[in-house]
Amino acid sequence: MLLPALAWQSLLSRRITVGLTIFAISLSVALFLGVEKVRTGAKASFADTISDTDLIVGARSGGVQLLLYSVFRVGNATNNLTWESYQDIAARPEVEWIVPISLGDSHRGFRVMGTSAEFFDRYKYRGGRGLEMAEGARFDDLFDAVVGADVAAELGYRTDQQIVVAHGLASFTEHDDKPFRVSGVLARTGTPVDRTVFVSLEAIEAIHVDWKNGARIPGQQVGADAVRQMELTPGAVTAAMIGTTSRLQIFGLQRWINDYPEEPLLAILPGVTLQELWDLIGVAETALVGVSAMVVATALLGMAAMIFSGLAERRREMAILRAVGARPWTILALLSLEALLMAALGVLLGMALLYGGLFAFRGWIDDSFGIYLRITAPSLRELWVMGLVLVAALVVSLAPAWRAYRMSLSDGMTVRV
């Protein structure tokens, strides 16, 4: 029991340098574990972008591409899904529900998505959470629009505001003859829904009745009121979300869609494709882990340097310990124990910083970046990391401890300072 007490008192007597060293270790540990948390949180949030949807169907292209444009609103569809095909799929007995997605227009930088009102019930994220209205109601009238939280926040939209949809994604031609009314604002989800303007599928059709090939048909102006009398069944949609009656039927339905003879289609399992996509961008994640591991290594090397620099002035202490009967090994053990204590305190403080930070900034991170960080007990992997930090500290401390061992052997009782 003597050694821990000595090590502790020795550390206390140098509390400023020791404190700074511990602080450096704790920051590095907090950073490392924080990166871990954000990494797993980001991955989980990413995987949570869409849930409870069994299949996504679109024109045949790459699975990742289909996922990107249908869920993340990134990129464009190369082709559409005809309304006939959509109806055929909807008629399948395996299909419990199907929600169309029609993309192509934009509003001041945000994508406009035409869909059915059922979308607001069927779209789930973060393991089954549904969409909620922060304000107002779902679209009811043909020219109603529901906007995501980011859209409302960035453009300052409230309910009953008039907005105009632009044709295409980066165009100056607007459907200004048929303005929409914001009927509701969605609560924040941390998913691409926040950056989307939702209108009904019929509305998409309605604003395009007098358009052909991306331009107005000259002399054929259909007014906003006239269009209400028209048949507004779409000719095609961009993609569709599908829920099956039983999970067992997912693969059968997927095969049926992929083999659909009338039109080349592609059905994907969103979870699987999300994983593929994450694997693509996961390289950055590895780099992040690498960098934070280097920070931990730097902090530990700093500790070794601090022990080294203290050795000269502690030669006297070593001589005293030797004189009262301490073995050279005792001195080595003392120095390593000090390093271990510092590392352990650093790890504990780092954990405190991490969890304190999580508690303090979790809401803000979710709101700002859509990354939902769960506060859970340290995972096995994190415990491993902490154990590894201690082992690394021990290993690193062996260099100065060994030097002290050598010094205590050669100095004996006569100290040449």
Binding site: S13, V324, G325, T330, S410
Partner: protein, 245 residues
């Protein structure tokens, strides 16, 4: 734990001598060309010996050899009837902890520990010495009391906060606790002013006598030699050679 070698004790004439050096030769490895030779040096049990020597004449080296911190290149060191060469390095460390109390010139104490903790330090390396003390804390305070230190100073402060004179007395108490056979003092008074030197020595000697300990003190100051049983000049027992450079 090393047991005293009985054959050697008999050879020495019944009771073992406290210190016996024979045909000793030692050179610091690699560092300097300094070399120390001691043909013969004996200190009887319970004797108080004053070894006079200027600094740099090998006093500390001699003490390191007697304490078993360094091993001689040739010759033998026997302390309290035990040949140190027969002991392994860990056993020598243990032997030192059990049998020898050391007082340095200054900076005797671990600055971050309390004086009391400093005094109890050797006991944790020496179980036999620990057993001789029923209540270590009370014994430490008894010794410091006898050496003229107040209890709260010993238990409360950190060692670094004491004056040099107080520190030396704490060091004396540490050397004495558990009644080791041999007290080795390396210029214990040179950091004190003249008026306090005599008083410190008196206290040290009284306590050593009370415990029946052998006292070996080295100093460059001949004025302190008055109360010792035997006064020797280091040059009488040891030859030191120093090469060029």
């Amino acid at each position: 734990m090393a047991q005293p070698d009985m054959t050697r004790i008999e050879a020495a004439g019944g009771r073992p001598e406290a210190i016996r050096l024979e045909t000793l030769r030692f050179a610091w490895p690699g560092r300097t060309s300094f070399r120390l030779e001691v043909p013969e040096f004996r200190v009887g049990r319970g004797e108080k010996v004053f070894l006079l020597g200027e600094s740099g004449t090998g006093k500390s080296t001699l003490l390191s050899l007697i304490c078993g911190i360094n091993a001689p290149d040739r010759g033998s060191v026997m302390v309290d009837g035990t040949a140190l060469a027969d002991l392994s390095a860990p056993a020598r460390d243990r032997f030192r902890a059990e049998r020898i109390g050391v007082i340095f010139q200054m900076f005797n104490l671990l600055p971050y520990a309390s004086p009391l903790e400093n005094i109890l330090l050797p006991l944790s390396f020496a179980p036999d010495r620990r057993r001789r003390v029923t209540d270590p804390r009370a014994e430490a305070l008894r010794l410091t009391g006898a050496l003229g230190l107040q209890d709260d100073l010993v238990t409360g402060a950190r060692a670094a906060e004491l004056s040099i004179g107080q520190q030396q007395r704490v060091a004396a108490a540490r050397a004495l606790i558990g009644a080791p056979a041999l007290i080795v003092a390396d210029e214990p008074t040179s950091a004190l002013d003249t008026a306090r030197q005599g008083a410190f020595l008196d206290l040290l000697m009284t306590q050593a006598e009370a415990q029946g300990a052998t006292l070996l003190m080295v100093s460059h100051d001949a004025r302190l030699s008055g109360r010792f049983d035997r006064v020797l000049d280091l040059s009488e027992i040891a030859m030191t050679t120093r090469g060029a450079g």
